[in-house]
């Protein structure tokens, strides 16, 4: 890339101005009137849309808020989706903090109180540091896709290497090719054996299509392969191969977005929002569905969203009828986790001077002497920056096994002008 990249490309830096596409974009605050939503849904991805449809069909009055300009979430954000009529959408609206009263949220559009709340906040990518990963030209897999969708970078005719792990890589590779990019290499760190087992266990879903498309990449796909170093214009893989490219798009899996849930005191388990059979969290009247409850793909998001929407509208009988389908989706969740579990090699990629915390420029060497995440934060500023550790927290949790490194962020969930908190 010629001009220095003004964006982190990771989708979390909040420096982005990619309006309406990335979850990292803090919506411009438009302080509005105080309003009430009998059923309030955060997130208009597959889970949020399914929840809205279900709750509305059961007669509830539904409001959906999402920080993107249009409904669709991570997967449908380009083509756009519509919400059922009667459902109120507050687009480009971010949840910022808990508000002054019980059952109320401070959002970029003012304070919204709710009767029932459904958290459908989705997932973001996990990044692991390797030498060169902070250079211009390197972006998240979903991040590059989003930058391209928004027109901020052009991928047509550009050589792209897609690297890391998980079905998202294949989906992104397929998308990039459809948009004119030359996908010169897909480096998937999982083995052929596991990929084959995954493909065999795959239900008919978006992932299935994506995998087919990705496998169409044929010889360009390498298994048991990952990036070990990026230098401007080329990536070096663990196989020793050096691949020239204009962009390296990487991602090492997805992690649930649990910030809003944690803010409201919902119990987390294994980094995801813990829910009961009705998709209800440990906090009464607060439900969660989709990737926020654990990475399982779009089918899981749809079925969990539907159950949550029905349960929140007190249509428990209808909700219970869907439990079998949900169990099927959860089986896929386990298949996913088994196929793309991270391997120890990936935690050894960073050099002493590789930056781990991008916001505060904290290197691996500065972290090696720290006994835990708290000390790392206090003594090295790791995770103290604008993204509040959304990138380096999960990375250090993976690298060092630090419990709490992926701990909830503090309000405001996104940087906001001080006046919004006053």
């Amino acid at each position: 890339m010629s001009a220095p990249q003004p964006l982190c490309g990771m989708g979390t830096c909040f420096g982005c101005r990619v309006d309406g596409v990335r979850t990292c974009v803090p919506a411009v605050p438009r302080p509005g009137p105080r309003r009430h939503a009998p059923v309030l849904i955060i997130g208009a991805g597959p889970a949020g849309i399914a929840a809205a449809e279900a709750a509305a069909s059961a007669g509830a009055q539904v409001t959906v808020i999402d920080n993107n300009a249009a409904p669709g979430g991570q997967i449908w954000c380009a083509e756009g989706r519509t919400l059922p009529s009667g459902v109120q959408l507050l687009a480009a609206t971010t949840v910022i903090a808990a508000a002054d009263a019980e059952r109320a949220l401070l959002t970029a559009a003012g304070i919204i109180s709710y009767g029932r709340l459904i958290l459908c906040t989705g997932a973001r990518e996990l990044f692991l540091p390797f030498p060169g990963w902070t250079l211009p030209g390197v972006a998240g897999a979903g991040g590059l896709q989003a930058l391209a969708k928004s027109g901020l970078v052009r991928v047509d005719g550009r050589r792209v290497v897609v690297a890391g792990t998980g079905p998202l890589l294949l989906a992104v590779a397929a998308w990039l090719r459809r948009h004119g990019a030359q996908v010169v290499r897909i480096a998937e760190r999982t083995s052929w054996r596991k990929l084959a087992a995954f493909a065999a266990a795959m239900p008919q879903s978006k992932w299935g299509d994506a995998l087919a498309l990705g496998l169409g990449a044929g010889p360009r796909l390498r298994a048991s392969t990952w990036p070990v170093r990026y230098t401007p214009g080329a990536v070096e893989l663990n196989s020793g191969e050096r691949v020239a490219c204009d962009y390296l798009a990487c991602g090492f899996g997805l992690i649930p977005c649990t910030e809003v849930a944690a803010l409201l005191g919902c119990r987390l388990a294994d980094g995801a929002v813990a829910v009961n059979e009705w998709q209800e969290t440990s906090q009464p009247a607060i439900y969660a569905a989709g990737e926020a409850t654990g990475i399982g793909g779009v089918d899981q998001a749809l079925i969990e969203g539907e159950i949550a929407g029905l349960a929140a509208a007190d249509a428990h009988e209808q909700a219970a009828a869907l439990f079998t389908s949900r169990a099927e989706a959860h089986r896929f969740r386990r298949v996913l986790a088994a196929a793309f579990a991270l391997r120890p090699e990936l935690t050894q990629l960073a050099d002493a001077d590789t930056i781990v915390c991008r916001c505060e420029s904290v290197s691996l060497a500065q972290l090696l002497s720290q006994p835990n995440w708290r000390a790392a934060k206090l003594q090295s500023r790791c995770g103290m920056g604008v993204c509040q550790g959304r990138i380096c927290g999960p990375a250090t949790a993976t690298l060092f096994g630090w419990p709490g490194a992926a701990e909830p962020v503090r309000p405001p969930l996104f940087p906001v002008p001080a006046e919004l908190l006053a």
Binding site: D100, L378, Q379, P417, A418, L421
Partner: protein
């Protein structure tokens, strides 16, 4: 196991760390327990400030300031000699500024009264129309967690140990084990009362907000003169304008005080009131991006002075430093060390004697 320590310090915040360093310098074998860099220490502002609320408070804060000045602090402590600018909103507060000025100069602290114009020149972002202010050159700013870690760097620390009870020469841990030692020093901040219920310490919660980087926006630590009413009054809840430029270019916005709230939860109406107070003084703060807010717990005493010395009979205590414990940690440590070594203290220590407050 290591030899029986001379002193076990319960607490590894700013006060525990400073005491550990001072006692180790005396050649004593010291061990600390507790979360390194502490509770309040990780949450506070790190303003090193001479305070003239009472003679005893002035004595301890100015003594401590001189001890801070004498330290050759490493870069990570981010010491900046910013000075304090006390802002006088009106003529009444201007009179208070002048009184403060005579007190400081009489006690050898450099201070300068600023009129309306000089105030605007010193801090251009202040709203126009304030009566003036008082600049105290010698005050500074530090990053307390790094200061605590640096001071205690050579002192053995028992990671992960939590004390459940203390005796004059023994500390018992939550796993049932215990350690005997020459003396116990409780420097556990607000948690000190869990070990020594007789201490008259109340929790006084505070909120802070930190902005993104705006280098040059502020020059001094700025405090409204009305702060003294908030800090030293005993209203259930109060806010005051108190902002600090960090070495990173970030700005810390304070302050709030709230009795008997021991949870970490953000109280949004109080946070809002605190921010509005800040905007009242500095309107453009409202547009700056806030990246994080949090709370911390101060250990308040009835007379606003810390508890320093040996309980009779019983362990030693260094706690109750309210909103000044970063500043007064060094003076506290010097007093503890002098007393343990049987020397005269550099400043009279009677006002801080825990015996004054404990029946």
């Amino acid at each position: 196991m290591s030899p029986r320590p001379d002193v076990v310090i319960v607490g590894a915040g700013m006060v525990g760390a400073a005491c550990a360093a001072a006692l180790a310098r005396e050649g004593l074998h010291v061990e600390t327990i507790g979360e390194p860099a502490g509770g309040a220490t990780a949450a506070g502002m790190g303003h090193i400030v001479a305070m003239d609320d009472s003679e005893a408070q002035f004595a301890l804060t100015s003594y401590s300031s001189r001890l801070w000045d004498a330290l050759d602090l490493p870069p990570q402590v981010e010491r900046e000699r910013r000075g304090t600018l006390w802002v006088a909103a009106d003529e009444q507060e201007m009179a208070a500024a002048r009184a403060k000025h005579s007190f400081y100069t009489a006690h050898g602290v450099q201070a300068e009264v600023l009129d309306e114009r000089a105030l605007a020149g010193a801090e251009p972002e202040l709203r126009a129309g304030f009566a003036g202010g008082l600049r105290v050159e010698s005050d500074s700013v530090v990053y307390a967690p790094a200061a605590a870690a640096w001071l205690a760097r050579d002192v053995p620390h028992r990671a992960g140990a939590t004390a459940v009870s203390v005796a004059p020469r023994r500390v018992t841990f939550s796993d049932g084990s215990s350690i005997s030692c020459g003396a116990v020093l409780v420097a556990a901040g607000v948690a000190s009362t869990a070990l020594l219920p007789q201490l008259p310490i109340r929790v006084r919660k505070g909120h802070l907000a930190i902005t993104d980087r705006y280098p040059g926006f502020l020059r001094h630590q700025l405090v409204e003169l009305g702060y003294l009413k908030s800090a030293h009054g005993h209203a259930a809840e109060s806010v005051a304008f108190n902002v600090q430029p960090r070495a990173t270019g970030q700005i810390l916005i304070g302050s709030s005080r709230q009795y008997e709230r021991a949870d970490a939860r953000i109280d949004s109406p109080l946070l809002a009131a605190m921010l509005r107070r800040a905007f009242h003084y500095m309107p453009r703060l409202a547009q700056l991006s806030v990246i994080r807010t949090w709370t911390g717990l101060r250990a308040a005493t009835p007379d606003s002075l810390p508890l320093i010395g040996q309980l009779q009979p019983g362990p030693w205590v260094a706690a109750g430093h309210e909103g000044l414990g970063i500043t007064t940690s060094l003076g506290t440590a010097a007093i503890v060390a002098d007393q343990m070594m049987g020397r005269a203290t550099a400043i009279p220590a009677a006002p801080y004697s825990p015996g004054r407050a404990v029946a």
